[in-house]
């Protein structure tokens, strides 16, 4: 009983602290507090509400239960992670990105091809590509290969669109300069247009990190060996073992965040020169 009100009080306190922090000048350390405080206060309310309102664990387990389940199932979770995230999502991501990159170079070189492909790519990028999952599972079997195929297709179109746009984006003044040097197509591509395309390419790469994980997991709904995050979720959910499901979700969230964070770090290194990276946007 008291836990619930304690959680409410904590929530209010946390908000007040956040408002105070917001009024201060931005300092790096202080900036970490608001999201953490917010998240922690949500956790407390969650835990306390589940107990206080006697919410059935079948609907929403408390964070503590999820935590215990997580700790006790690390081997299973790790196996699932390797199957889905590493084998399925990651390989699909690289295949899709590589293919998209090659096609955008072709599209850049042959304008006729670009004008035909780009509208179709835009159309397909908006389509529920996930629907292709059952078909790919049928073709490539239950193993991780079909999941990688699904991810590759999902990732292909956004990366293609972003890369093509990025390669086009160089400033006229830079291109004129290249013309005065009589640089050929390859030199202009390598020395100018790829560099200016990087910010756009990274936009696409970032979006696709989360997409690839989701694609791999959902593809497993359509068929999977007895391993994998999607498999685990689709079998544990009907058994109402929601704590396991939430543990898998946590793994997915952590994996997704790490993947995304990794790409952001790479972006900082490669596009260090872009105004958005220099904090002067």
């Amino acid at each position: 009983m008291t836990n619930f009100w304690a959680a409410i009080v904590f929530w209010i306190l946390a908000w007040m602290i956040n408002i105070w922090i917001a009024r201060q000048n931005e300092t790096k350390i202080l900036n970490l507090f608001p999201p953490i405080l917010f998240g922690v206060s949500v956790m407390f309310i969650w835990e306390a509400s589940v107990v206080h309102f006697e919410v059935s664990p079948v609907i929403l387990p408390p964070p503590s239960a999820i935590y215990y389940k997580f700790i006790s199932s690390i081997p299973i979770l790790w196996g699932d992670f390797v199957q889905t995230a590493l084998k399925g999502a990651l390989s699909g991501y690289f295949i899709g990105c590589g293919a998209a990159f090659v096609v955008s170079l072709i599209a850049d070189r042959f304008k006729f091809f670009e004008r035909g492909v780009l509208p179709i790519a835009n159309f397909l990028a908006a389509m529920p590509i996930i629907g292709i999952a059952p078909i790919l599972v049928m073709w490539y079997g239950y193993g991780w290969h079909s999941k990688a195929a699904v991810v590759a297709v999902m990732v292909f179109f956004p990366i293609l669109i972003n890369t093509v746009q990025g390669i086009k984006m160089s400033d006229k003044i830079h291109r004129d300069l290249m013309q005065t040097y009589n640089a050929n197509y390859l030199q202009t591509l390598l020395k100018l247009r790829l560099a200016t395309a990087m910010p756009f390419i990274f936009n696409g790469l970032k979006i696709c990190t989360t997409l690839s994980l989701i694609g791999a997991i959902v593809a497993e709904f359509f068929g999977s060996p007895i391993r994998g995050m999607g498999f685990r979720i689709s079998t544990e959910a009907p058994r109402f073992a929601l704590d396991m499901v939430w543990a898998e979700i946590s793994v997915a969230a952590i994996a997704g965040s790490l993947f995304y964070g990794g790409v952001v770090l790479l972006e900082k290194k490669i596009t260090f020169w872009h105004p958005s990276q220099r904090g002067r946007a």
Partner: protein, 296 residues
């Protein structure tokens, strides 16, 4: 005088048509290749040898093809839309409408939620600092992947029917809207904001007269992304529902019972649904932006 070859002009229709024709031809080719093993097996069992024309025509008319030929898919769609009663569970339109409603409601709620959140983020720094990182993290939680759980959980709590699916659809579409609108609401230049200040404009006036109009281009971009996400959410939400209906359900039952034509026709219908909805947004966008002279 520079004469531009038609091949170098900006016209898009010819290249697109060429591309589509090319894809259809390749498709027919792959149909033969992928469906051939089954034909060979069948022929071996009845000790027949197939001529090439027989092989080609038969691979293009299998009942359960690995890769249906385009004309098979078109025929299937035609059969299940025009030739069936709209209320029949065998009608593609019946399923299409279910998915349509889920999408529209999810999109509407998602956009509303997204706009409210973005206003909160732009106007309240505490909200921005606390909530924004979590919104971004929320997208790493593969909502699609936990669709089964959400449907099950909400089902036991008494929410059944389309509701859980609408929630999934809403969850997917609010994120692009938040990100886009935050960027859009913040897009006015400092001097434009200062000008409003010299007129002693209230916060609401600044919001409605400056920030909102300026964010329209960003809004439309987000709406297009959000709509695509809503369709995906609706379809995946239908998967664990068991018996409801909708295009996702249709594709899943096709997958379970090996009816590949169901899968493909469902997929194409979903594409048509998403495509039409997004085209409507694009048309509205063109009209609105032109009237506001914000066309880029």
């Amino acid at each position: 005088m520079n004469k531009k070859l038609w091949i170098n002009s900006d016209n898009k229709t010819v290249p697109v048509i060429c591309m589509i024709t090319f894809i259809v031809i390749i498709w027919y080719g792959f149909s033969i290749v992928l469906n051939a093993p089954w034909e060979f097996d069948k022929a071996k069992r009845s000790s027949i040898t197939l001529s090439t024309t027989e092989l080609v025509s038969q691979t293009w008319s299998q009942k359960r093809p690995k890769l249906p030929a385009p004309h098979q898919i078109t025929k299937e769609i035609w059969d299940t839309t025009v030739n069936k009663k709209v209320t029949s569970k065998r009608s593609l339109i019946y399923h299409g409408l279910i998915t349509f409603y889920e999408t529209i409601y999810g999109f509407a709620f998602g956009t509303g939620l997204g706009i409210l959140l973005s206003i909160g983020i732009v106007y309240n720094k505490a909200t921005a600092m606390s909530v924004m990182p979590w919104i971004i993290t929320s997208q790493t939680i593969p909502i699609l992947a936990i669709a089964p759980m959400i449907v099950v959980a909400l089902g036991s709590a008494g929410f059944s029917g389309l509701m859980p699916i609408v929630i999934i659809s809403m969850y997917l579409s609010f994120f692009p809207v938040v990100v886009g609108m935050v960027k859009g609401l913040k897009s006015p230049e400092q001097l434009e904001v200062d000008l409003m200040k010299t007129w002693s404009a209230s916060k609401a006036q600044v919001l409605f007269k400056l920030r909102a109009p300026k964010s329209t281009p960003y809004l439309f971009t987000s709406l297009k992304l959000g709509m695509a996400a809503s369709v995906v959410g609706a379809i995946v939400g239908e998967l664990p529902s068991g018996g409801g209906g909708g295009l996702g359900f249709r594709m899943l039952s096709g997958s379970t019972f090996g009816n590949t034509l169901h899968i493909w026709s469902g997929l194409f219908s979903a594409a048509i649904l998403a495509g039409s909805l997004i085209s409507i947004i694009i048309i509205i966008e063109r009209v609105v932006l032109k009237r506001m002279a914000l066309e880029t």
